[in-house]
Amino acid sequence: MATLRCPKCGKNNPDLLEVCQFCQAPLKPDSVLRIGQTPIKKNTGELEAVLPDWLKNVRQQAKDSAEEETQMPAQSKVEKDEPPDLLAGLVSQSSAADDDDIPDWLASINPSASLKPEAPASTPAPESDFFAQFNRSEPAPISQPPQEEVSSPLEQPADQTPASTEDELSKWFAQASAQPEEIVEIDPETERPGEAAWVSPFDAPLRSQQEPAPKEQEDLSWLHNLEDASKQTGELQSPKQGADWAQAFETPSTPSEPSRSQEDLSWLDNLGGIEESPQQASERPATAGDDLGWLNNLGGTVESQPFDTSPAEPVSAAPFTSGEDLSWLNNLGGTLEPSQPAEAAPEDLSSSQEDLSWLNNLGRESGQQFTPPFTESTSESASQAAPAGKEELEPPDWLKSAMEVPSMPPPGDVSLNWFTDKDQPSEEGSAPVLGTPQSPPFSDMFSAPGEPPSTASQDVDSLFSVEMPDWLAHSEPTADVPASSQTDFPPAGSEESLAPVDLPSWVQAMRPMEAVISETGASAEDEPEETEGPLAGLRGVIPGMAIGASMRPKSISLKLQATDEQQASAALLEQILGSETNPRALITSSFIASQRVLRWIVAGLFLFILSTVIFLRSQTMPISADLPLDGDNASSAVVRVPANGKVLVVIDYEPSLAGEMEAIGGPVLDQMTLTSHPAFSFVSTSPNGSALVERLVSKTGIDQLGAEYHNLGFLPGGAAGVLGFVQGPGEIIPASGVGKFSDYAMVIVMTDHAEAGRTWVEQLHAQRVRQVDPALSSQPLIVLASAQAGPLLQPYLSSGQITGMISGLADAARYEFMNGTRPGIARSYWDAFGVGLMMSIALIVIGSLWSLFTGMRARRAEAEQG
């Protein structure tokens, strides 16, 4: 057989199944209900193939037990010491021989198995059955037709063998799903006799299970327990035939016997969970066999009468048709409410598929740990029945009592926290806090089948004292309600791909708390609505933040954070640095103006005073007769010049000092003329010298004395010329009139700078040393120098290279004084010379002192300023 892999849990399932037998996830995509789709009603009989094996076995057992029930009297409950095997059904999956263990009640329900247990389907005794009490009167025109159709197939499989249980079940489910959802009315009259009858189906499978194997009988022990308990209380009447309870299941809401007699498998329709279209619903007549409104009543009573009411509050249960029969169940719980009279029956007992949704939830939400065997199937049928919008039924009394807080915590309560969670958000104000999670209403029923009656009663008590979950307490949403409930969801933004969703109740039941939904809804509404993509129409899926906004790094300011004080310090530093580069204005006096005025003053004084002195020809200042030694030597040499000898006079001074030189040379030339009447040869080594000869001669008056003089002119070549002239004067200057230089009796050099004198001295000495001409050694050399050249020629004088030297006006005046004051040039300059010197000295002294004082003051001011 081919296998299908579950997309959710990944386990392999037979391909016949549409829902995974492990996780109840749809195996085929077709069976998946997508958002926007309206559940399609399907015949529960089609789902028979989906049923797991263990369920099929259970059903078969039920059928068998129902058959046995009809044949045998109510048997005592077989006490089992062994704990109930909740998973006995699962264990029986592997064995094909478990078909015999299908309980009668289940077998009676199953249209395929209705062949076997014809009794439960036919007899009206199921009023005493457990499930018969849930049969409620339904509107006849609605429920009756389907009941008839369902009943017939249900009757058939009653006699079938376990070997064909699976087929029967599948057929039954198919038929059940094909029929409309109908509320199983529990006929109150039938309930009493059915009190035991409903138990009998449960007992039947137990009994049937006992025979083949102990382990397989454990799943129905709870039924036996319940049966025993009911017997003890005396409320339990003789069990009816197995078909009775089945009829109770299958009978529609109408209290009519035909409806009761028919197998009411409508609850199975509800178990399928596939919502049929209204057309299909109308087509598929509600048969009594498919009328499982009693199960719907279980859920419908929840909606009509919320579970969140305090346990103490009486839960108005829908009047059972056999409410009085099941009143013992109410008393079992202790908190069970007294069965209401049948007069309450006329209340709305609309059993819808949604009423059985609680069964789906029972099976699914507690399915991980423990799921009642039939809750899985019931969950499917309930899910199918939920959106059908069946009439709501009031919960039975036993169920009402289950709304109350159990006296003892049911086993496996840890996994049933969802129960409490659902109750809390739906409660408004008075909501009992479910401190301990409550197990499903029927969990206790399955948990301890082998317990003694006392414990059974306690179990029942705890069983029925379970608080009804919120989703069960509220009315099941009809086909319209799911549509309205879907409006609670955040509105779809985009209408391109998604339509408003109408979620079934079972899906809604799976939703988290409403508070969370409302919160998310509120927050989601603030978020922007997606407009494109797979999330179009949704809000709050993607956080409303710009992409990368959180990733954007914080901008860091590059500006230097500085306080006011720091900024002020920085500004001050900047000012200081700026002042360093800026030139500083120097505080100085007008230097140039003071210099010009002083010079003019000095010049004016000198001009005025000296002019006056010269103009006055003053000769008041005496001249000393003490001639220096150098002067005496010169005088001596002049006197020894031979008469009519030739004297070379070298004119080697500038016109600027002509006055001084004339004053110095005048007395010497005059004395020489007077004494020797030499022939003077004047030569000059400067170009201006030639022009000065005449002035000299005229100023000195030697021409008037009858002296001869020759002006030889300019002697070029500097030292070389002098050398050449010294070596051969006739060759250099042919007009010299001499053959050799030694022919000159005396050489007089008149110079104002030491260079010329030095040249002549050096050249002559060189010739003397060489002794080319021995007469040169005796040739006197007199130097007539100005006051500025005299000191530099003193060494030559000291060395004897110069015979005599007259230096400056002072010596000239003394020499002239010695010469009888002849020509008298020096004498005329002497007074002015003296005055000038005195003024110079005075000015220098006074000025220096003044300058010293002002300089010190200026430097002090600069120091202070700097």
């Binding site: 002083l598 010079r599 000095v602 010049a603 000198f606 200042m621 005496p622 001249i623 000393s624 003490d626 016109p655 600027s656 000092l657 002509a658 006055g659 170009p687 201006n688 022009a691 000869v693 005449e694 002035r695 002006n711 002119g713 070029p716 070549g717 500097g718 070389a720 010329g721 050398l723 050449g724 051969g728 060759e731 030095r758 060489r770 080319v772 000191p791 530099l792 003193q794 060494p795 002072a810 005046a813 002497w830 007074d831 010379f833 003296g834 005195m838 110079s840 000295i841 000015l843 220098i844 002294v845 000025g847 220096s848 002192l849 003044w850 300058s851 010293l852 002002t854 300089g855 010190m856």
Partner: protein, 203 residues
């Protein structure tokens, strides 16, 4: 060409130097002849210098540079003086008038300005810088001026002795200068003889 001039200069110098040390007839004659040539070249150099001076001043005048008028005046003066001197000779009274009326007064005036400038400089010497050397210089100058200064009261007693005493320092300094000059002249001659310095062109 540079090598020839350098070699010629060196050879001539060596001959002249040798003539100083060796009194050999031809060598002496050669020395005299070389010196005569130098004298002639020197004489011509003056004319060349005068001509160059005139040309520069003329160029300045032609280019209308600052001081161009002075240049043209200079050139004219030069030409007139040169012409008159060639024509009349230096003994001509006009020539003597030119010399006595223009040349000597001008230069004498410059010398007078120099005198005033020196006095002014002496006055402000201590304002510019006040140090030992400046003070000593100024003091010594004043002393000499004072010793040489004629006084209405006659010569200052001991002036000659003081002058000779202080003259000793001056004479010593002068000797040092003269020795330095002599040594420098000797070194320059040797550099020329060795071809290191080439004042005649090429460097």
């Amino acid at each position: 060409m540079r090598v020839i001039t350098t070699a010629l200069a060196i050879v001539v110098g060596l001959f002249v130097l040798a003539g100083y040390f060796f009194q050999v007839g031809p060598l002496v004659e050669l020395q005299v002849r070389l010196i005569d040539g130098a004298i002639i070249i020197a004489g011509m150099a003056i004319l060349v210098g005068i001509f160059n001076l005139a040309a520069v001043q003329m160029e300045k005048f032609r280019a209308r540079q600052k001081g161009g008028m002075y240049g043209i005046l200079l050139v004219l003066s030069l030409v007139v003086t040169f012409g008159l001197g060639l024509i009349f000779g230096p003994e001509n009274p006009y020539m003597r008038l030119t010399v006595e009326a223009i040349i000597i007064p001008v230069e004498a005036s410059l010398m007078a300005i120099l005198a005033v400038t020196l006095i002014y400089a002496s006055i402000r010497l201590l304002r510019r810088r006040v140090d030992v050397m400046s003070v000593i210089f100024l003091v010594v100058a004043l002393v000499f001026l004072f010793l040489m200064m004629p006084t209405p009261f006659g010569p200052i007693p001991g002036d000659r002795a003081m002058i000779d005493f202080l003259g000793m320092f001056s004479r010593g300094g002068a000797r040092g200068l003269l020795i330095g000059i002599a040594l420098g002249t000797l070194l320059t001659g040797l550099r020329v003889l060795f071809g290191v310095d080439r004042p005649y062109g090429g460097n």
